[in-house]
């Protein structure tokens, strides 16, 4: 035990571990906040779909040999988010089918592009780390850390300022619209924020595991709490703790960061579920 603590204190002095912790916790916090709205609006899979789109965008950036792929990824992902959320209600192709279509499409085309055009000697390694985010969070440059911090804080501020509006639009969009809330505008805002978070989260857990950051905190908090505010706070705390713990464990035990965080989130979910069941009697 003392050995582990020594090892941990040693690692914590390295800037790359500090960066990973800061960025990881902020990203987890942001995704958990937005996750509640997505889960409640029955849009859980949008996070998943968008992350695949971001993967496709990254592949395109690789083809054009862009050194900084963030802007392109952000642009493409935001655009897809807007299209998906807009088409939610009245599209000819139903929401979930549209998400599935875009999601696998982007994944396939992205891999095809990377496979054909990438100059890297280790393509499968590249693909693996993009999908599962194996090491990229530990290799962040200082500029990337700053970008992540600034974007995360921006997301947090927007979320707090629009908290009441997000609640109104999530609970009952028709009522909100009928009584003069500009629901379309806030849906658009949500789409943009979600896209930003997804692109940020790719660094942390890779594109296949982002959904976990979005869904688990919300579902766990909903087991335990019954008002929107307490669920929000609980999801945020849950998310920060699991992300920090996951990163530390992965550093000490030398496991992939993304999968470790998700594994801890699953464990925490089971605990919350059990606690909720004991507290409120067994529910289905």
């Amino acid at each position: 035990m003392t050995e582990m603590i020594q090892k941990l204190t040693l690692y914590l002095q390295y800037p790359f571990v500090q960066y990973a912790l800061i960025v990881g916790v902020l990203i987890a916090l942001c995704s958990s906040l937005l996750g509640i709205t997505l889960v409640l609006k029955r849009f859980s899979f949008i996070g998943d779909g968008l992350s695949h789109v971001a993967f496709g965008a990254m592949a395109i950036a690789a083809v054009f040999r862009l050194t900084n792929d963030m802007p392109l990824m952000l642009a493409i992902t935001i655009l897809s988010a807007i299209l998906l959320l807009r088409s939610g209600q009245k599209a000819k192709i139903k929401g979930d089918a549209a998400v599935a279509m875009i999601s696998v499409g982007a994944l396939a085309v992205g891999y095809l592009l990377m496979n054909r055009f990438s100059k890297s000697s280790n393509i499968s390694g590249d693909v693996c780390s993009t999908l599962f985010g194996s090491t990229s969070i530990l290799t962040l440059r200082k500029s990337e850390v700053w970008l992540c911090v600034v974007l995360s804080i921006l997301v947090l501020v927007v979320f707090i300022l629009f908290y009441n509006k997000i609640f109104a639009v999530t609970f009952d969009e028709d009522f909100a619209r009928a009584t003069g809330t500009r629901a379309n505008l806030y849906n658009l805002l949500l789409a943009v924020i979600i896209a930003v978070i997804i692109v940020l989260a790719m660094n942390l857990v890779g594109s296949l595991l982002i959904s976990a950051l979005v869904i688990f905190p919300a579902l766990s908090a909903m087991r335990l709490f019954k008002s929107f505010r307490s669920v929000t706070v609980c999801a945020a705390v849950y998310s920060v703790l699991t992300a920090a713990l996951g990163i530390l464990v992965s550093v000490v035990a030398d496991t992939p960061v993304g999968s470790t965080i998700v594994a801890i989130e699953i464990a925490a979910f089971v605990v919350c579920w059990a606690a909720g069941a004991i507290k409120g009697g067994v529910r289905k």
Partner: protein, 235 residues
């Protein structure tokens, strides 16, 4: 001047007409029941009045100092709401959202209004309770309190008693009637329940194969009523 004026409306969706040439007016303090068979366009009409959907032809205007966003709305329950983690307080307060503009937080006045409407609906004891754990009748009262936060003038109710047992149904009708008579709030209600419509409404709008709009007394003498009644009996 009338609070709500619908002129020569043609309603439908995807280019498919379900109702045409509909005109009617609602004055302040009236109690209008919209009745008609399933699929006759009652819900579409309601969405059009609320501005959630635009009519294919014709127009909806408001008058008598009523703004379009001051129409309170009691929707039918949605799937999303059934397991939504929200307290009664949070939901009622969200009725004030329409007036907020870009202001991020609720004011003291908003909160006082929410508290007042919770009291009016007899929900004080449930303020902190979770919405999804309430009974159907309690949930409807929560949504009614929210609608009252959005308006002091006119309420649109979309089948407010569907799924409620007879006792709660009677209470709900009583509550709506009090709002109409005592607080002078105009009520427009979609209903399947012709008996209740006959009992409380001042005016009837019957849509479907025959269209009728007028006072309750006129409706009772009309053909629309007798044909609807007959269908009701055979069904």
């Amino acid at each position: 001047m009338a609070q709500l004026i619908c002129q020569d409306l043609t309603l439908g969706y995807d280019g498919h007409e379900i109702l045409s040439g509909l005109s009617f007016e609602v004055d302040a303090g009236e109690y209008l029941c919209i009745v008609g068979e399933n699929g006759s366009g009652k819900s579409t009409l309601m969405k059009t009045i609320l501005g959630l959907q635009s009519p294919m032809r014709g127009k909806v205007t408001t008058g008598d100092g009523l703004r379009r966003s001051e129409i309170g709305y009691l929707p039918q329950q949605t799937v999303v709401q059934r397991d939504f983690p929200a307290s009664v307080w949070e939901i009622v307060l969200s009725g004030c959202q329409g007036r907020q503009g870009l202001r991020p937080f609720y004011t003291k006045e908003d909160k006082a209004l929410a508290r007042e409407n919770i009291r009016k609906m007899g929900l004080e004891a449930l303020t902190k309770r979770c919405y999804r754990e309430l009974s159907g009748g309690q949930q409807q009262r929560v949504l009614l309190a929210r609608a009252l936060c959005a308006t002091q003038k006119i309420l649109l109710l979309d089948e407010p008693v569907s799924g409620l047992d007879p006792k709660v149904t009677a209470e709900m009708y009583g509550l709506i009637d009090t709002l109409n008579k005592r607080d002078g709030i105009t009520v427009i209600m979609i209903s399947h329940d012709l008996d209740a419509a006959m009992r409380y409404a001042t005016h009837i709008l019957h849509i479907g194969s025959t269209v009728f709009f007028g006072s309750k007394a006129d409706y009772l003498r009309s053909d629309a009523a007798s044909s609807f009644r007959k269908e009701d009996e055979t069904a």
